[in-house]
């Protein structure tokens, strides 16, 4: 004293595969093999095709709102690639379907979800992920809780949580970061900085220079990475996962990318997006960069691309058909998952499909009660 420095910090930004598809060989060591990259590129491309098809399904009235991942594929897939499938747990938000695909979620479930079918949230038992979260930031606390449970149960698993730049403003995010560090849980926070929260640009979301510095408030290890560089994204997450699994606690990763689509199909980004920034972002498209890299190492060419084109179309077509042709959910599904055991009053609502007391108990007006069976409520449904 009288004046002394009590805290110092600095934040680094990593890039391994640059805008021109050139790789930093040294940093790339022990990251992705060329085979890995081929697989990831293929899934990036298929996801892009999936996004296009979804857009069309929405525009033709066959699906509700849909949020494209377009432009962010390297974040979603690079991060998810760092996890062990079925072991490490993914807590995604609504825009991270590529990561869920990589970990085995049947693609049609994502379409069914946006077609308003809640059954799509039933994750196949062997997969290790939660459904897409809609309420911004809420899922970050669930991720921390899951990681905490893994730690308490002494199982060797970690959690990866996705959220956007907008989510960093929520109270839940703040609580999650704090709990994660205080309880030192194996959780990796992947902040997908796609520059926009609907129409609000990153610059208006926070006055911070970087989103990575949010983690300094909690003494959490933090790094920035070029989110269109699948090597960089992978490495940042691999390092964070390793640390988490070795008992080193949580980490924060700001992956810088750009939302190339509208916020959702209900949005029109031309209302607020600057044309120049958008053009520049298109030039940094992760698909272009990854393909150039693969071509440069002799693993990709026009004919491979043509095959992939065709394959992606087939896959996406099949997936769309599967979603479009699904049986409609049963009306009883509305009631069935409220509690493990249905309380009497809820059962009556399901059986009669009524809430008015006379409707639920027609004997009150001298009518015989409706037969109590699952069929009856189907019939009722048909009648309404």
């Amino acid at each position: 004293m009288p004046i002394k420095t009590v805290y110092q910090a600095q934040i680094e930004s990593i890039q391994i595969l640059d805008e021109d598809g050139k790789l930093d060989a040294e940093l790339a060591q022990n990251t992705l093999s060329v085979d890995d990259v081929v697989g990831l590129y293929e899934l990036m491309f298929i996801s892009r095709e999936f996004d296009e098809a979804s857009f069309k399904l929405q525009r033709s009235g066959r699906m509700g709102t849909f949020p494209q991942n377009r432009g962010q594929e390297a974040v979603s897939l690079g991060a998810a690639q760092a996890l062990r499938r079925g072991i490490d747990y993914i807590v995604p938000y609504y825009r991270e379907h590529p990561a869920m695909f990589l970990h085995g979620l049947p693609m049609h479930q994502v379409l069914s979800y946006w077609m308003g079918d809640e059954r799509a949230n039933a994750i196949p038992p062997k997969l290790s992920m939660s459904p897409m979260s809609v309420s911004i930031g809420a899922q970050t606390l669930h991720a921390v809780g899951i990681a905490w449970a893994f730690k308490l149960r002494k199982v060797d698993r970690a959690v990866l949580c996705f959220f956007g730049d907008g989510a960093t403003s929520t109270g839940d995010f703040h609580a999650a970061m704090n709990f994660a560090t205080v309880f030192h849980v194996p959780c990796v926070f992947c902040c997908v900085n796609n520059q926009w929260a609907i129409s609000v640009p990153r610059s208006k979301q926070t006055a911070a220079t970087t989103l990575a510095q949010k983690a300094l408030a909690y003494n959490m290890p933090t790094v920035q990475v070029d989110g269109n560089d699948v090597f960089g994204v992978y490495k940042a997450h691999r390092d964070a996962l390793d640390r988490a699994l070795k008992g080193g606690g949580p980490s924060f990763i700001e992956a810088i990318t750009y939302r190339l689509g509208d916020h959702t199909t209900a949005d029109d980004a031309r209302r607020y997006r600057d044309a120049e920034g958008y053009a520049a972002a298109q030039a940094r498209d992760p698909l272009i960069r990854t393909r150039i890299y693969l071509e440069s190492v002799g693993r990709w060419d026009e004919s491979k691309q043509a095959t992939l084109d065709a394959r992606a179309k087939v896959i996406v077509h099949e997936v769309s058909e599967a979603a479009l042709n699904a049986e409609p959910p049963a009306t009883d599904d509305l009631f069935r998952y409220t509690f493990a055991e249905m309380p009497e009053m809820l059962l009556k609502q399901m059986q009669t499909h009524r809430t008015d007391s006379i409707g639920q108990d027609p004997e009150q007006i001298g009518l015989k009660a409706a037969p109590h069976s699952a069929e009856s409520s189907e019939v009722h449904h048909a009648a309404t």
């Binding site: 308003g116 809640e118 403003s169 609907i198 008015d356 006379i358």
Partner: protein, 324 residues
């Protein structure tokens, strides 16, 4: 007189109140350049500038808490919560702070804010975009809760809400936003908060509702046998509720049905039912009926129409109630 839909009517009310009183300002997510996700604030930032139409960071507690402070500092803020499903993070500031401001300071400090919230189902939206949480806020002393069903009412009630010296929660039924146009005076006018509107006069049964359900009730009435005479009351405000209009009607008809989108148990229909028997006990010829959403989460949209009360359920309830 121009024909306006509800989005246009609200937009006009906002513009007029901003012109009328320079302390009025708007804040919320995406309400500026983007004009709000429903375009309700379209053009207002261009007209009034970025200081009076403010895009905020993504935090509802921030929007609500800062609005309270802005009011304490002399402004008249109109926060927008993008969807009723995101009132959750603002719940504490709204109920424990805004609603108590006058009481806590023994009138020294007031909180003249109007919280605009698109609400309710029927537009095939994703999860948490189709809820009806009005009962929760009607159970909050110090808060008024207004729910217009028509463009004309929306304009006049919003003007009243903005000029009200206390916090008003203003729910906008999104299903009605663009579903109908009606004649709405260009000039500014107010409609008193707390007064219900009799939309159809009748003598056999009283149907009480609010928000988008008004139209399901109208549809139901159309489907009834000609001989049946239904009185339809649109509450327009649920807190304070216009018990006189309800009681007067039920004393005449002897039968009442409340219709709302929210879950039955603990919904505001329970309050209406309780009030009716408190005020009209000796006139009642049948138990007050509730036609409401079920006691389940609001489902994803493939099952939404099974959740929401519709004309069929309302007709059945009216017929059964008449048979009692």
């Amino acid at each position: 007189m121009p024909l306006l839909n509800m989005v246009e009517a609200i937009n006009l009310a906002l513009r007029q109140e901003m012109c009328r009183d320079e302390r009025v300002m708007l804040l919320g997510e995406d309400i500026g350049v983007n004009g709000g996700v429903f375009r309700v604030t379209e053009g207002l930032q261009a007209e009034f500038g970025v200081d009076r139409v403010v895009d905020t960071p993504l935090t509802e507690t921030g929007i609500m808490g800062a609005s309270i402070g802005l009011a304490m500092g002399g402004m008249i803020p109109i926060p927008e919560i993008q969807f009723e499903g995101f009132l959750g993070p603002a719940f504490d500031q709204l109920t424990n702070q805004a609603a108590r401001c006058r009481s806590r300071t023994r009138g020294g400090q007031t909180c003249p804010i109007t919280i605009r919230v698109p609400f309710g189902g029927g537009i095939h939206a994703p999860e948490l975009h189709s809820e009806s949480p009005e009962a929760i806020y009607a159970h909050t002393p110090g808060l008024k809760v207004v729910i217009p069903s028509h463009p004309y009412d929306a304009k006049g009630l919003l003007a009243s809400a903005i000029r009200d010296p206390d916090p008003v929660l203003f729910f906008e039924p999104k299903r009605v936003y663009r579903s109908l146009k009606e004649k709405v005076p260009e000039e500014s006018y107010t409609i008193p908060i707390g007064s219900a509107k009799v939309l159809a006069e009748g003598t056999d049964v009283t149907v009480i509702t609010w928000g988008a359900m008004v139209f399901q009730c109208l549809e139901a009435i159309d489907q009834l046998p000609e001989r049946m005479s239904v009185e339809l009351i649109d509450l327009r405000t649920i807190s304070p509720v216009d018990v006189e209009t309800i009681a007067e009607s039920v004393k005449k008809t002897g039968r009442a049905i409340v219709v709302h989108e929210a879950h039955k148990t603990g919904g505001f229909g329970a309050e209406i039912s309780a009030l009716i028997q408190e005020h009209c006990f000796l006139s009642l010829e049948a138990p007050v009926q509730r036609v409401t959403g079920f006691d389940t989460a609001v489902p994803y949209y493939k099952l939404e129409m099974q959740y929401l009360p519709d004309a069929t359920r309302i007709v059945a309830s009216i017929m059964d109630c008449m048979a009692y």
